[in-house]
C-alpha cells in the first residue's frame, strides 16, 4: 500500500525547514519585485519552486519523488534565467551549466529508482528497502545515490556549478537555492541512506567523511579568493555542505562499528547544521542581495562603508557572519561543536588505523573554521566598514520595508535556532527515532536545557543559554561602567602618517586575503596582472597602477576542462576515422574481423601468451599501416 505523499517525522521536519526558509523569503521577494523585469514569470516559478520542494520532502513513492525533484530543478533553472537580459552571457552560461549538472545527477537517481523499484515507480520506500536488500551489488546503489544527491547538494567534485548558478539568480532565489534547495538533497541522503540502503559497510562512511572534509576545505579556500560577494557565499555553501557531510559520515562510521549512540549524535549534529545553514545562509544571501540592489554591482571591492547607510542590512549580515564563522554563542557554533564532539568520539573506536585517520578530518574541520572566520571578517569588513570605495556605494540607501522585514524575520530564525536549540534538537531526535535510530536528546540534555552534553564518555559540555546571558551581562556591565565614567568623545581624522585617508589607500578584499592566498599558492595558482604607468621612463616611479588577480578553481581546471579536452581528443580521432577514403574503410572492416576472430580464439577457445603476443603484433601493425596510414 503506497501513497503519493507520506508525512512521517523526517518529512515533516524538512517541510518545517522549507517553511522556515521560505516565509521570510516571501517578504524579501515582495520587496525585491521592483527589481525584476518579468514579474509574472518570476512569481509563477517561485511558487512552483517552493511547492515542488515541499513535494520532494513529502513524496511517498519513487514516482512522486522524481516528479517533484525534476520540477524543483526545472523551476529553479527558470528562476536563474529571470534576469537573463542584464548579463546575458554569464547568466545563460550559468543556467546551462546548472541545467546540465542537475540532470547529470537526475540520471543516476533515475537509475537508482529503476533498480530499487524493479521498474514499478509507484513503489513506496518500504518496498524499495526490500528490493535493495536483495540486490546483489549494494555498492552500485551507493554510488548512484552519491552521484545523484551530491551533484545537487554541491559536494566535491560535483560542486562546480554553485559559484556560477547562485550569483546569476536573483537574490531571493539565491537565498532559496542555497539555503533551502541544497537541504532537499540532504533530505534525500538522510531518507535513502537511513532507510533504503541500511545497513552499510564501514568504507561508505569513510568515503562520505572524506568527501565532506574536502568539500569543507575547498569551499572555504575558494570563498577566500572570491571578489564576487554572491560567489563567495556560494562557495561557503559548499563548505557548509561539507560540514554536514562530515557529521553524516561520522554517523555512518559509528553505525558500521556498532556504536549507535555516537552515531545518532553525529546524525543529530548533521541535521542541526542543516537547519543552521539554512538560516544563516539565507540571511547572508538576502543581505548580499540588498547590497547588490543598492549598489548595482556584485564586486566586493566596490562596496565599503555601507553600515552607515544600511544599518539593518549590516547588523543582520553581522549576526549571520558570526553564526557562520561558528563563534559562540550562536547556532552555527552549537552545530559545529556537536560535529567536533562527534569526531572526538573517535577515541572510542577500536580500529587503530581509523582512530589515527579521523584526527586528520578534525584538522580539516578546524582549519575550515579558522579560514571561515577570516573570510567573514573580509566579507563584512570590506563590504560594510571603512570608506565608500565607489560612487555606487556612496549612493546606497537602506532597502525598502519589505526587504528589511524579510531580513529581520530570518535573523529571528537564526536567533530562534540559537535560543531554542534544545527544542530543535528534540525534534531531530524524534525524526531519527522514527527512522529506527536512538533518540539521544535525553543524553544531550541530561539535566535540563541549560547544559548541552556530548554523548561520548567524559565528552564536552556547553551551555549556550548561560553563555548568551553571560555575554550580555558582561558587555552590559562594561557599557554601564563606561557610561558612569562619563567619557567624552571627539572625532578626528584617521591616522595615515600625515597623509589623508582615501578609499584607495584602505585595504581591499584582494589585499585582505593576500597572505592566505600566498600561503595556498600551490592550490590557487593565481593569474596575476600588474600594470604600472611609469613616469618619464623611470622603471620604479609610477603614479597609476592596476593589480588584478584571478583564480580558476582547480577542479574546474583539471576535472571538467580535462574531461572536455579528452572528449575533444577522442572526437578528433573519430573524425579522422570517419573521413577516410573507401579503401581504408575496407581495411577497417578487415581489422575488425581479425579482432573478432582473435578475441573468439582467446576467450572461448584457448589462451596462450605466445599466440596472444603474435596476434597483438599483427593487430597493431595492420591498424597502423592500413587504417592510420604511414607517417607523411
Amino acid at each position: 500500500m503506497t501513497h503519493f505523499f507520506q508525512f512521517d517525522t523526517l518529512s515533516l521536519l524538512f517541510a518545517g525547514l522549507i517553511v522556515l526558509g521560505s516565509v521570510p523569503n516571501l517578504f524579501y521577494s515582495r520587496g525585491y519585485m521592483s527589481h525584476i523585469s518579468r514579474p509574472w514569470h518570476y512569481r509563477i516559478h517561485y511558487a512552483a519552486f517552493i511547492l515542488s520542494m515541499l513535494g520532494v520532502v513529502t513524496a511517498g513513492s519513487a514516482l512522486s519523488f522524481l516528479l517533484f525533484w525534476e520540477l524543483m530543478s526545472l523551476t529553479s533553472w527558470q528562476l536563474i534565467l529571470t534576469e537573463a537580459e542584464k548579463e546575458p552571457e554569464t547568466t545563460l552560461r550559468a543556467a546551462r551549466f546548472y541545467f546540465f549538472m542537475t540532470h547529470f545527477g537526475f540520471v543516476f537517481l533515475l537509475l537508482f529508482f529503476l533498480i530499487v523499484t524493479r521498474g514499478d515507480l509507484e513503489a513506496g520506500f518500504a518496498t524499495m528497502q526490500g528490493i535493495a536488500h536483495a540486490f546483489a551489488y549494494p555498492t552500485l546503489l551507493f554510488f548512484l545515490l552519491l552521484l545523484g544527491f551530491f551533484s545537487k547538494a554541491g559536494a566535491v567534485p560535483l560542486h562546480v556549478w554553485l559559484p556560477y548558478a547562485h550569483p546569476a539568480a536573483p537574490s531571493p532565489v539565491s537565498a532559496l537555492m542555497s539555503g533551502v534547495m541544497l537541504k532537499v538533497a540532504i533530505y534525500g541522503i538522510f531518507r535513502f541512506f537511513l532507510t533504503v540502503l541500511y545497513p552499510w559497510p564501514l568504507e561508505w562512511g569513510v568515503l562520505v567523511l572524506v568527501i565532506g572534509a574536502m568539500s569543507a576545505l575547498i569551499g572555504v579556500l575558494y570563498a577566500l579568493s572570491e571578489h564576487d560577494i554572491k560567489a563567495l557565499l556560494a562557495n561557503h555553501s559548499i563548505e557548509n555542505i561539507g560540514i554536514i557531510l562530515i557529521g553524516f559520515g561520522m554517523g555512518m562510521i559509528f553505525d558500521a562499528l556498532k556504536l549507535p549512540v555516537l552515531s545518532a549524535f553525529a546524525f543529530t549534529a548533521a541535521l542541526f547544521h542543516t537547519f543552521n545553514h539554512m538560516s544563516f545562509k539565507s540571511l547572508l544571501f538576502m543581505g548580499a542581495g540588498s547590497v547588490l540592489h543598492e549598489t548595482h554591482t556584485k564586486n566586493i571591492e566596490a562596496y565599503g562603508g555601507l553600515i552607515k547607510s544600511m544599518p539593518v542590512t549590516a547588523l543582520t549580515f553581522l549576526l549571520a557572519s558570526v553564526s557562520i564563522s561558528a563563534l559562540p554563542p550562536t547556532n552555527g557554533f552549537l552545530s559545529e561543536w556537536m560535529t567536533f564532539q562527534a569526531m572526538l568520539g573517535s577515541s572510542h573506536i577500536d580500529n587503530m588505523s581509523l582512530k589515527l585517520a579521523i584526527p586528520f578530518a578534525i584538522f580539516a574541520l578546524a582549519l575550515t573554521a579558522g579560514l571561515a572566520v577570516a573570510c567573514f571578517v573580509k566579507a563584512f569588513g570590506i563590504t560594510f566598514l571603512g570608506l565608500h570605495r565607489s560612487a555606487n556605494a556612496r549612493h546606497a540607501r537602506e532597502v525598502n520595508g519589505m526587504m528589511r522585514a524579510g531580513m529581520m524575520l530570518m535573523a529571528g530564525v537564526v536567533l530562534a535556532l540559537m535560543l531554542f536549540a534544545p527544542w530543535f534538537i528534540g525534534r531531530f531526535g524524534a525524526a531519527l527515532a522514527a527512522l529506527g535510530r536512538r533518540d539521544v536528546t535525553p543524553l544531550i540534555f541530561p539535566d535540563g536545557i541549560w547544559q548541552m552534553h556530548s554523548v561520548a564518555i567524559h565528552g564536552g559540555v556547553v551551555s549556550p543559554l548561560l553563555l548568551t546571558l553571560a555575554l550580555l551581562a558582561v558587555t552590559g556591565a562594561l557599557w554601564f561602567g563606561m557610561r558612569l565614567l562619563g567619557v567624552r568623545e571627539r572625532l578626528h581624522r584617521t591616522w595615515a602618517c600625515g597623509y589623508r585617508t582615501s578609499a584607495r589607500t584602505q585595504y581591499s578584499a584582494t589585499g585582505f586575503a593576500g597572505p592566505i592566498r600566498r600561503f595556498f599558492e600551490w592550490l590557487y595558482r593565481p593569474e596575476e596582472h600588474l600594470e604600472k604607468e611609469t613616469l618619464a621612463g623611470h622603471a620604479t616611479k609610477f603614479d597609476r597602477s592596476r593589480y588584478a588577480v584571478h583564480v580558476t578553481p582547480l577542479f574546474e581546471k583539471s576535472l571538467y576542462d580535462g574531461a572536455a579536452r579528452a572528449a575533444n581528443f577522442v572526437s578528433y580521432w573519430v573524425y579522422r576515422l570517419a573521413h577516410f577514403e573507401q579503401t581504408r574503410y575496407a581495411a577497417m572492416i578487415f581489422n575488425l574481423m581479425l579482432l573478432v576472430l582473435f578475441s573468439y580464439r582467446i576467450f572461448a577457445h584457448e589462451f596462450s601468451w605466445a599466440t596472444f603476443a603474435l596476434e597483438s603484433v599483427v593487430m597493431i601493425v595492420s591498424i597502423k599501416v592500413l587504417i592510420i596510414g604511414e607517417k607523411r
Binding site: P359, L371, V373, H458, V474, V487, I516
Partner: protein, 306 residues
Amino acid sequence: MSLYLLTVAVLLLIAPLLLGVIKALKMWLLFKRPLSLLQGYRDVAKLLHKENVVSEEASLITRVAPFLILSPLLIVLFFLPPAVQGAWYVSFVDAFTLTGLMALSTFFLMLLGLDSASSFGGIGASREAFIAALAEPAMVLTIFAVSMMAGDLGVGQAGVNLASRFPEKHMASYLFAAISFFILLIAENGRIPVDNPETHLELTMVHEAMILDIGGVWLAIVETAAAVKFVIFASLFASLFLPFGYGLAWPLALALFVGKLFGVALAVALVEVNTAKLRLFKVPNLLGIAIVFAFLSLITFYVLGA
C-alpha cells in the same frame, strides 16, 4: 565559591603586571634600565581619564567592538581550571567553548581594525586573520590530545584530573602537547617571534596595527583584553602542564599558582630575547610545528600509549 571568586580576582588584577614583568625582564636582559612593574596599571589609569578620540570614518562597530573584545575574555577567566584544591569551578564548559570565545574576541578585534579605513588597520586585520586561521587546527588538536590524557574534555575537570593524577604513563605525548601549547601561547598572544608587541613599524605590526586608531577608555579596554588573554593562556598552561602543588593549603597553593604564571612570563621573555621576529610568511612554519607536535602527541598516545 569564595576561593573561586578570589582566584578570578587575582588573575584579573595581575593581568597588567604579567605583561609588565615580561617587558621589564626583557629590558633587564638587554642591559637596559627596566621600567616600573606598575607601568601597566599607570597606563590604564591614565587612559581612563582621557576622552575617546574616534576616527571620522568610524561606525557603530568601533563603539561596540571594544566591549565585545573584552567581554568574551572576561567570561573565559571565570571558566579556567581551579588553582586551589577544593575551590569551586565551572564544570559545564569545555575547551571548544573557550577557543570559540577567544575567536569571538579576535573577530571583533579584526573588525575594529577595518573600521577606521586606515591601511594599517587592514594590514593588522589581514595578518591576524592569517595567523588565527592557521593556529585554529593546532589548538583543536592540542585540546584533543590533552583531553585524552586528562580523561575529560571539560577544562575545569581536566585541570582537576591532571592535578590529582599526573599522567606519568603518557609523558611523551604530554610533553609533545605542552610544546604545541606553548607555541600557541606565543602565537595567539602576538609575542616574538610571531608579532612584536613593542614596535609600531608597519612592516611588523599585527596587533598594534589594528588598534592604532582608537584611544582613551576604548584603548584601555583593548589593552586590558590583551593582558587578560595572556593570563588566560598562562594559567591554562600552568594548570594543564604544570599541575603540581595543587593540594597545598590554599594561600600557598594560590601563591604557587601565581608563581607559575610568572614562570611562564619568564619563559616567554627568554624566548623573546633570544629569537628574532619571523617574517610573516615564515609564521606558518612555526604553527606547522605546533600542528605536527599535536598530531605526534595524539599518535604516541594512541599507538604507544606513552
